[in-house]
């Protein structure tokens, strides 16, 4: 099927306008009550649940033809599923796409917040597998909704305390729970806890869980506090290395196995950030100048 054919058969950005309106209403409610999970009538999308259907529906609902769209998975633009989602919107919305964080108006992400600070007017759309931060403590949705309504978060604090008792620290490395504007405990999606401080930002953050039929949001400059204790304060965590390609000391790193004898290297997970640094002349221990690469 050619691009023209597909684009002709479906509405702009795939979803029909009624569905978009339903999603936009849920988004407005979510922005009005930061951190609250708004039920929405998630549709079946042409990619499987778990592949980012929640994020795709939000992107489709907010997208306008003038948008510049960026998709990252694990921080990278060239991971297979990021490629697939970007292509989907190129087909069904024919919007411009970009790999540059600074140039994008809408960024859909899975598992990372870009290293570069977002600015006002930019929108970050998260793909969320399990929106409920209390789910692994209480499997019933009926119960967890009650717990949120009553602001009953004791169970979560007990879990964090038990972690400290057992491991000497809070043993959650990603999807680290946060409290929003002093009210709702929220799952920031499975971003590494390294990214948690960046949740307070100038951009709009929208979270979509397609299979679980939930949307939630963080308006710009919203207060987002990672849960912790006074004597065990929240700490970020990253591999204690610099990026082998660009030399960055402050970015989140992927560990890449290079041989079967324990050889490994560390590279920025955010590919745009790493590329920009190299283009600006920064070089890591194993890096080559961008022009030569």
């Amino acid at each position: 099927m050619s691009v023209e054919q597909i684009a002709g058969e479906y509405n702009f950005a795939y979803l029909d306008e009624q569905t978009k309106r339903m999603i936009r209403r849920a988004l407005l409610k979510a922005l009005a009550i930061p951190g609250y999970q708004v039920p929405f009538a998630s549709r079946e999308m042409p990619m499987p649940y778990g592949w980012g259907t929640g994020g795709v529906q939000i992107s489709a609902a907010i997208m306008v033809p003038e948008d510049r769209f960026k998709v990252i998975d694990q921080g990278a633009d060239d991971t297979t599923n990021a490629v697939s989602i970007r292509r989907f919107f190129e087909k069904v919305a024919q919007v411009e796409t970009t790999e540059k964080t600074a140039e994008a108006t809408v960024i859909q992400t899975r598992h990372r917040i870009p290293e570069r600070d977002l600015t006002e007017g930019q929108v970050l759309v998260y793909q969320v597998p399990i929106p409920e931060p209390l789910r692994f403590l209480e499997p019933s949705e009926v119960e967890t909704r009650k717990m949120h309504a009553l602001e009953e978060y004791g169970l979560m604090h007990v879990k964090l305390y038990e972690d400290i008792a057992r491991h000497g620290e809070i043993a959650t490395a990603y999807a680290y729970p946060v409290k929003v504007e002093g009210r709702y405990v929220m799952d920031p999606s499975p971003i590494p806890k390294f990214d948690n401080p960046k949740l307070e930002m100038a951009g709009i953050q929208l979270f979509g869980a397609g299979r679980e039929q939930r949307i939630y949001a963080l308006p710009p400059y919203c207060e987002v506090v990672s849960l912790d204790f006074e004597d065990y304060p929240f700490t970020r965590m990253r591999a204690e290395h610099c990026c082998d390609l660009c030399g960055a000391e402050d970015s989140y790193l992927d560990e890449v196995i290079t041989d079967d004898a324990g050889g490994r290297m560390f590279v920025c997970s955010d590919t745009d950030f790493c590329g920009e640094r190299r283009a600006a002349g920064h070089l890591g221990p194993l890096g080559v100048a961008e022009s030569a690469a």
């Binding site: 649940y49 778990g50 060239d78 490629v83 597998p129 971003i191 806890k193 039929q213 890449v256 194993l286």
Partner: protein, 369 residues
Amino acid sequence: MYVAVKGGEKAIDKAHEWLEDERRGDVSVTELSVAQIREQLALAVNRVMAEGSLYDPDLAALAIKQARGDLIEAIFLIRAYRTTLPRFGYSQPVDTGAMACDRRISATFKDVPGGQVLGPTFDYTHRLLDFALEAEGLERPEPPAEAAEHPVMPRVTEFLNREGLIQDEVPPAPEADQPGDLTREPLELPAERPLRLQALTRGDEGFVLSMAYSTQRGYAKNHPFVGELRIGTVPVEAEIPELGFAIEVGEITLTECETVNQFLGSKTEPPQFTRGYGLVFGQTERKAISMALVDRALRWKELGEDDKGAPAQDEEFVLYHSDNIQATGFLEHIKLPHYVDFQSELELVRKIRREADAAQQGARREAAE
């Protein structure tokens, strides 16, 4: 020199080409046509229509062909297509009592008005591989004698109802709220029975079967008899606003099952039989019977029965796990890259191990001193 992994786009394109080639298989073997699938793999087509929630045998057959026979994948194709279809309106309730039945049996009465009609069933076949089918171009089977007219087949459970022996199903008042639509509104609990039935009729056949089976084996046992099972066609009517009355827009095949279940009575209800209900697109008997059993198990609250803690009684458990498109998506998504999260775990485990090692060495040193 390390070069960051690039080439996702190219890899995807090549994978799709390969997939297309595999789908076709050996090109010296004749290609399967959509019509062949529709006609000769009709029960697969029925399952795809039922769980895809879209009644279109041609599209279902196409989906099966495209999915290389993976029925859940085919159901997924249909569901994704269904999303893009505009919703014109809702049909009138179909009258399954007036169904033109190909098959209609009752296990509770030896004979019933309208008769027991076996129809095209596997029930009494001996499951011996028919090697004659290996040869192609066999003589055509005799077509069944065309019944002059479908006899009237009154509902079996209504015979019991006349004596008040079975719990009455009260139809909703015409001015009552329309039942919810699972595909248009998010599922919220507790769910009304119409929503539960919607979830069950599109639920995974294997899941619904196993849930039903678990009730038979004692997890919320509800002693079911197949009061009636009927398969046949019904006309579908829809009211056209401009006309102000309903007209027939098509005809669909349905399988309907009503179970009759023992009920010993409760504090408020005298002993009487109760019902479970199953209704599924196409000839999908196993699914319809399973659905009726699970429906009955989920009605424990309404009938004042005890919560035995059985999975089939747990509405949240059943409704949240019956959809195979949701289930397979979430299950299979774990093969997508997770290396950012894994890296985070890796660092955490390394750190905790370092600390534990240090603590152990410290303890050993103390012991030595």
